[in-house]
C-alpha cells in the first residue's frame, strides 16, 4: 500500500518544481511590466485623493533602483524637496535638507511614510517573494470579465514592507492586474490596481487604496523609466548627507 503512495508522491515532485518555476517566471514577467531593468531611474507622480475624491496631495519622486535590493528615493515636490530615503536591503535611512545627519529609520517608519509609495512602485516581486499558484479565476473588480492567474506571495526576506501579497496577473501575458498587500500583523494595508499604457507594453499607473485607516486613494503614475547605474557613493548615507548632485 505504501509503495504506490510513495510513487505518487515522487511523481508529484517534478510537477511541484515545474509549478514553482512557472510562478517565478510569472513574477519576473510581472516585474518587467513595472520596472524592466536592473539599473533603473524611475520618475513617478503620486496623487493622493481623499475618500470623497478631493485632492489631498500630489508628490513627485525619482527612484534609483539598483541590484541587490538597493534603491534611493528623491523627493521632488516643494513640500519635501531635498528629502531622500535610502534603502539598502533591510536597512533604511531618511535624509533631510539642511541637516548633515542621516537618520536610521525602522521598516515600520518607512512603511508609514510617503516614500513607501515609491518603494511599492519599484518593488521586485521575483526577488523579494516566494510565490504559490492559487489558481485561475476571474480578475478582481472592475476587471472581472478578464481571466487572471491568482498567486499568493510570501516575503522571502525580513525587511520588506508587506509580509504577504495576493497578486492577480493577466492569464495570457502575466501583466499585473491587481494586488492586496498585507503588513506583518496580517492586516490588509493596501489594495492595488494596475493600469497599462495604451500599447499594453508597460504599467502606466498604479492605484492604491489605503485599508489601514484612511481609505485614501493613491495614484502612482510612472512618468519615465530610464536605465541608470548609480555610483557606489550614492548608496552611502553619509555621502548623501552632503546633499550632492544626483543628476
Amino acid at each position: 500500500m505504501k509503495t504506490p503512495l510513495l510513487a505518487a508522491a515522487l511523481a508529484c515532485v517534478p510537477l511541484l518544481a515545474t509549478a514553482s518555476a512557472d510562478v517565478a517566471a510569472m513574477l519576473k514577467s510581472a516585474d518587467r511590466y513595472r520596472t524592466g531593468a536592473e539599473h533603473l531611474q524611475v520618475e513617478t507622480q503620486v496623487t493622493v485623493l481623499q475618500r470623497d475624491g478631493s485632492l489631498d496631495k500630489e508628490r513627485r519622486y525619482t527612484v534609483f533602483v539598483q541590484p541587490q535590493r538597493k534603491s534611493l528615493v528623491l523627493m521632488r515636490s516643494p513640500a519635501e524637496a531635498g528629502q531622500k530615503v535610502l534603502m539598502l536591503g533591510d536597512d533604511f535611512w531618511l535624509l533631510l535638507p539642511g541637516s548633515q545627519r542621516p537618520l536610521r529609520i525602522t521598516p515600520t517608519q518607512k512603511l508609514l511614510g510617503d516614500a513607501s509609495t515609491g518603494d511599492i512602485a519599484t518593488l521586485a516581486w521575483a526577488d523579494d517573494y516566494s510565490g504559490r499558484l492559487v489558481g485561475d479565476e476571474p480578475c478582481p473588480a472592475p476587471d472581472e470579465r478578464r481571466a487572471c492567474v491568482h498567486l499568493a506571495l510570501q516575503a522571502a526576506r525580513k525587511g520588506v514592507s508587506y509580509q504577504r501579497i495576493e497578486l492577480w496577473l493577466g492569464k495570457v501575458r502575466h501583466e499585473p492586474v491587481a494586488a492586496e498587500l498585507y503588513v506583518h500583523s496580517d492586516k490588509l494595508a493596501k489594495q492595488a490596481r494596475f493600469v497599462m499604457d495604451a500599447s499594453s507594453a508597460q504599467v502606466d499607473q498604479m492605484v492604491l487604496i489605503d485599508r489601514l485607516g484612511s481609505n485614501k486613494e493613491t495614484r502612482v503614475r510612472y512618468l519615465a523609466r530610464t536605465p541608470k547605474q548609480v555610483p557606489e557613493n550614492w548608496l552611502n548615507p553619509m555621502f548623501l548627507a552632503r546633499n550632492p548632485s544626483l543628476e
Binding site: K57, A79, P97, I105, D114, N233, F239, S245
Partner: protein, 466 residues
C-alpha cells in the same frame, strides 16, 4: 514628511532665557528694520549676491551646457511667539526690587525668507559646486523691528569621486541622538528648539572619503580663529580639528569621533544607531573630553555685592558625557522616543547650590541699595542660558496621519524635579506648512527650570515653500 520619523528637531526644551538688558543688546546688536533694509550687512550682501548670481546667471549657463546644473529653493515663514514671564527666579526678583532692571520677555513676530541655491559644474574636470543658504529675517519685539538676517551656508565643494573636499561656511551635524548630542562637536547645534530651522553653519575646511560601507571626515573648524585667545573663541567658535569615521555593519551604524580644540584639548567619542526590529531603533553616544567651556562666577561670595557681572565663560576640566535612547513606531502611526543623558559640560549640583546660596543672600540684603541688589540678581540669570542639570530624561509621544503630525514631550531633571512640557501640532500641505506649539517650564519652586525668566511660550508659524 517622507518617512514617519522625527523630522525637524523634536520639540522639547530650549532654555529660552530673557537676559539682562545690557547683555541682550550686546548679543543681538543687530540693526532695526529700517537699518536692516537700508544698510544690511556685508555678510548678507555677499550671501544675497551669491544666491542671485547662482539663481540668475547659472541657469543661463545650464541651458547652454548640460555640464552645469543649478538647484534653487526658498521658504518664506511668518512666525509669532507669545511668552509669559516667570514670577519666580533671579530675574523676577530683580524686577520686583527695581522695576526696569531687566526687560521682561516680550512677544515676538518674525518674518523670514530662507533662500538656498547650489550651482554645479563639471566644466573644469572634477565636479565643482558652489552653495549658499541665506536667511533674510526681521524680528519685532515690543514696538521695535530688528534685523536678524544671516548667511547660514556659503561654501565651495570639489568632487573627486571617492574623495570630496569643501571649504566655506557650512552646517555639519554629527551624532545620533535627538534631545542631546555629545558628539556634535563641530556644529554644536542647539537641541529641542520649539521651531526647527536651518542653523547657522560654521566656517570650516573639510576633506572626506567614501566607499560603499564607510566614510571618513576630516575637518578644521573655525580655522580663522586658530590664533585667538580662549576668551574670544568659546564653545562652537573655538578653532578645532575634528574627525569622524563611519562604518555600516548590517542593521547598525557605528561612528567614531576625535577632536582637538585649541584650548579645550582632546576629546574622543563613539556612537551607534541600531535597528533592533521592525518597529524599534536604539541609539547610544558617549564622549570623553579633556577640558570644556563653562560658566564661571569668578568665586563671587554669597553675600558680596559686585559692580560688574561675575559671570564669564572659562575653561573647565575633563569629563564624560553620554546618551542612551530608543524609539518605537507602531503601525497605528504612534511613535515613542525615550532618551536619558548625562551632560558633563553642565554645571555640577555643587555649582548650582552656590548659585542658589548667592541668590538667597542677595534677596536677603535689606540695607543695600535696591538697584545694586537688583543688578546683581539679574546677572545671576546668566548661567541659565546654558545647559542646566547634568542628568536628564526625555520622553516624546507622536502621532501622524497625513497631513497632521501631533507630538507631546516632556523633559525631566531628576536633581531638582524641574520639567518642561511641550505640545506641538503640524499641518503639511503641498507648499504650505502650519506649526503650532505650546511649552511650559515648571517644577518645584527651587528647581532651575521653574526659575527661568520665561514660564511658557506659545508659537504659531506659517511656512510657504517656493
Amino acid at each position: 514628511m517622507s518617512a514617519h520619523a522625527p523630522s525637524r528637531s523634536p520639540a522639547g526644551l530650549a532654555p529660552e532665557v530673557a537676559l539682562p538688558a545690557d547683555r541682550r543688546s550686546r548679543i543681538r546688536g543687530n540693526p532695526g528694520l529700517s537699518g536692516f533694509l537700508r544698510r544690511g550687512t556685508k555678510v548678507i550682501t555677499v550671501g544675497v549676491v551669491a544666491i542671485a548670481a547662482l539663481s540668475e546667471a547659472m541657469p543661463a549657463l545650464a541651458d547652454e551646457a548640460p555640464a552645469h546644473s543649478a538647484d534653487a529653493r526658498a521658504e518664506v515663514t511668518l512666525r509669532g511667539d507669545a511668552r509669559s514671564a516667570n514670577a519666580s527666579g533671579p530675574l523676577a526678583a530683580a524686577e520686583r526690587l527695581q522695576p526696569g532692571t531687566a526687560a521682561p520677555p516680550s512677544d515676538g513676530l518674525i518674518v523670514q525668507a530662507e533662500l538656498r541655491n547650489t550651482w554645479r559644474t563639471k566644466a573644469f574636470g572634477p565636479g565643482v559646486a558652489l552653495g549658499a543658504n541665506v536667511l533674510l529675517a526681521s524680528e519685532r519685539t515690543g514696538a521695535r523691528w530688528r534685523g536678524a538676517s544671516r548667511v547660514n551656508e556659503l561654501q565651495a565643494s570639489l568632487d573627486l569621486g571617492a574623495w570630496q573636499a569643501s571649504a566655506g561656511k557650512k552646517v555639519l551635524g554629527w551624532d545620533v541622538g535627538y534631545g542631546f548630542r555629545p558628539n556634535d562637536v563641530v556644529q554644536q547645534q542647539e537641541r529641542r528648539t520649539l521651531f526647527g530651522q536651518t542653523p547657522e553653519g560654521r566656517p570650516l575646511v573639510q576633506l572626506e572619503h567614501f566607499d560603499a560601507e564607510s566614510a571618513l571626515s576630516l575637518v578644521w573648524v573655525n580655522p580663522e580663529r586658530w590664533r585667538d585667545d580662549a576668551d574670544q573663541a568659546r564653545g562652537a567658535r573655538e578653532s578645532a580639528f575634528a574627525a569622524r569615521a563611519y562604518r555600516r555593519a548590517g542593521a547598525a551604524d557605528w561612528h567614531f569621533f576625535a577632536r582637538h580644540g585649541r584650548h579645550t584639548g582632546a576629546s574622543t567619542g563613539a556612537a551607534v544607531s541600531w535597528v533592533a526590529d521592525d518597529a524599534t531603533e536604539l541609539h547610544a553616544s558617549a564622549r570623553a573630553f579633556e577640558r570644556h567651556d563653562r560658566w564661571n562666577d569668578g568665586g563671587a561670595a554669597a553675600g558680596a555685592l559686585l559692580h560688574a557681572s561675575p559671570w564669564a565663560m572659562a575653561t573647565g576640566g575633563g569629563g564624560v558625557s553620554w546618551l542612551a535612547g530608543g524609539q518605537w513606531t507602531g503601525e497605528s502611526r504612534i511613535g515613542v522616543l525615550a532618551e536619558a543623558w548625562h551632560d558633563a559640560t553642565a554645571p555640577s549640583d555643587r555649582d548650582w547650590s552656590r548659585w542658589r546660596d548667592r541668590n538667597r543672600a542677595l534677596v536677603a540684603m535689606q540695607s543695600a541699595p535696591a538697584a545694586a541688589v537688583a543688578g546683581n540678581l539679574a546677572w545671576q540669570a546668566t548661567p541659565l542660558a546654558g545647559s542646566l542639570r547634568r542628568d536628564n530624561l526625555f520622553l516624546r509621544l507622536s502621532w501622524s496621519e497625513s497631513p497632521w503630525q501631533l507630538s507631546l514631550d516632556a523633559l525631566w531633571q531628576p536633581a531638582d524635579r524641574g520639567r518642561v512640557v511641550t505640545a506641538a501640532l503640524q499641518w503639511q500641505g503641498d507648499r504650505l506648512r502650519i506649526d503650532a506649539a505650546w511649552r511650559h517650564f515648571g517644577g518645584p519652586a527651587g528647581s532651575l527650570l521653574a526659575q527661568l525668566p520665561v514660564r511658557g511660550t506659545v508659537l504659531l508659524a506659517a511656512s510657504l515653500a517656493l
